[in-house]
């Protein structure tokens, strides 16, 4: 509990610093005050990519090791990832309405692919809620977690593959297209959101452990005894 409080404390401090930098950085000459939304929009989507990558890692590890902690990691990461994808979509739409003149452009592959990513992981959460047995739940969602992550690089590189409304990456190997003050503010927010992600993950994993423990207490005598199944018989 203390560990989680410390993590949330760190997240609060770094987020406050990030917000202060975001509001003290000069506004963009063309976008005006709306350019400050980049300090929430970019870190949110960075966190979503990280979260879905962690889900894929947890899923692969579960398929190899079959340990419940990998399933808890994958499931918790999806929930945080979906939350931050939603925040990224909403902030992007607010910014788009002000700067592009439209909140949603169907011809833009970044918008469409991000929305698709959001719905795929909503499907992942729906699948988890539909399965009762914890092992079956972990196995099915691990398979989906591995398949679903394929679209994450597609979302990231969609702005390079199809040139439409959404601009390409501002930070590239050959340097940044942003002024230093805006860049520093955004990077501090990326770090702050990452700390927040770690704190949310730690809290969610603790809740999952508590839920599992509570379910275990509700078990009746004989629940642990299962009839033999052909799939478990060796030398088939």
């Amino acid at each position: 509990m203390i560990r989680i409080r410390v993590l949330f404390g760190l997240a609060a401090l770094s987020t406050l610093l990030g917000l202060w930098l975001a509001f003290t950085a000069p506004p963009d000459a063309l976008q005006g005050e709306y350019s400050r939304l980049i300090n929430i929009h970019v870190p949110s989507l960075w966190l979503a990519f990280l979260a879905f990558g962690v889900t894929a890692f947890g899923s692969v590890m579960w398929l190899i090791r079959k340990r419940p902690r990998w399933d808890r990691l994958a499931a918790a990461s999806v929930e945080v990832g979906v939350l931050f994808t939603g925040i990224g979509l909403v902030t992007g739409m607010i910014w788009g309405q002000a700067v592009w003149g439209t909140a949603w452009d169907w011809g833009d592959p970044r918008l469409a692919s991000t929305a698709v990513m959001f719905f795929v992981y909503l499907g992942y959460m729906a699948l988890r809620s539909a399965v009762e047995d914890p092992v079956a739940k972990a196995r099915r969602s691990a398979i989906l977690g591995v398949i679903a992550v394929v679209q994450v690089p597609l979302v990231y590189f969609s702005v390079n593959m199809f040139r439409t409304l959404h601009q390409t990456q501002s930070i590239r190997p050959d340097g940044s297209t942003m002024p230093d003050e805006m860049l520093i503010a955004m990077l501090v927010n990326v770090v702050a959101f990452t700390v927040l992600y770690v704190a949310l993950m730690a809290a969610r994993i603790d809740v999952a452990k508590a839920e599992e423990a509570a379910k275990g207490e509700e078990m009746l005598a004989g629940d642990a005894v299962k009839p033999p199944r052909i799939s478990e018989v060796k030398d088939v």
Partner: protein
């Protein structure tokens, strides 16, 4: 039996069951054609605009009803049948490949029939090269969609809300296929190369094939 013999046998049995049940051509296809009719009626559109939106509506319905073909009830194995296949030593990867082969045949036939219905009902003006391009894009689209449907079908096997859940998983993941297939016809109309779109669908199909074969064993276990 070799891997491919097992896969062909599973595909043959699937197609025999489907020939008897007729779910694709007697249920899904008529429903899709009714949807083709509903679109212009509901939108109250002019004839020229109906012709313009025809190919787009075809691909939209193709993905929605193609999913139903991939997730058809006749291809859903009972736990007893799965146990039997495990007992006789059927390779899970061969089962995935066999199921995909039968699904591709049915989805391709469904798409061609739906396209003919769309041309008759909407009367779009298509370039002369659209027939070979349609055959190519439909076959790649059918491969990708069936692989995706087979994977989602296996992941959701035995669940009460299987069809709705599998559709929720398949529909968003099928987006690269829809983009690739619809843009192939669009590129022909604009007199541009169709190669990028064909490559997009091929890459999607290959990635799903690798995922399906690599995850065949856990998929087999997940269905139990």
């Amino acid at each position: 039996m070799s891997f491919w013999s097992q896969a062909w046998e599973i595909a043959r049995v699937d197609l025999s069951v489907e020939r008897r049940v007729g779910e694709t051509m007697r249920v899904v296809l008529p429903f899709a054609v009714v949807s083709l009719i509903v679109f212009p009626v509901a939108l109250g559109l002019q004839v020229s605009f109906v012709a313009q939106i025809g190919p787009a509506v075809f691909w939209a319905l193709g993905v929605l009803f193609g999913m139903q073909v991939a997730l058809r009830q006749s291809a859903a194995d009972s736990p007893e049948r799965r146990d039997l296949q495990a007992l006789v030593g059927v390779d899970p990867a061969a089962r995935f490949v066999g199921r995909t082969i039968s699904g591709v045949v049915l989805t391709f036939a469904f798409l061609i029939a739906l396209f003919i219905a769309m041309v008759v009902l909407y009367g779009p003006s298509l370039p002369s090269a659209s027939v070979p391009a349609l055959l190519l894009s439909s076959s790649l689209f059918a491969v990708g969609l069936t692989e995706l449907g087979t994977l989602a079908g296996e992941v959701t096997t035995g669940l009460r809300n299987r069809n709705a859940l599998a559709s929720l998983i398949v529909a968003p993941l099928a987006l690269p296929l829809v983009i690739g297939a619809s843009q192939t016809l669009e590129a022909l109309v604009r007199d541009e190369s169709i190669l990028p779109w064909v490559l997009l669908m091929t890459a999607s199909g290959l990635a799903l094939a690798v995922a399906g074969v690599a995850l065949a064993r856990p998929l087999e276990e997940a269905a139990r």
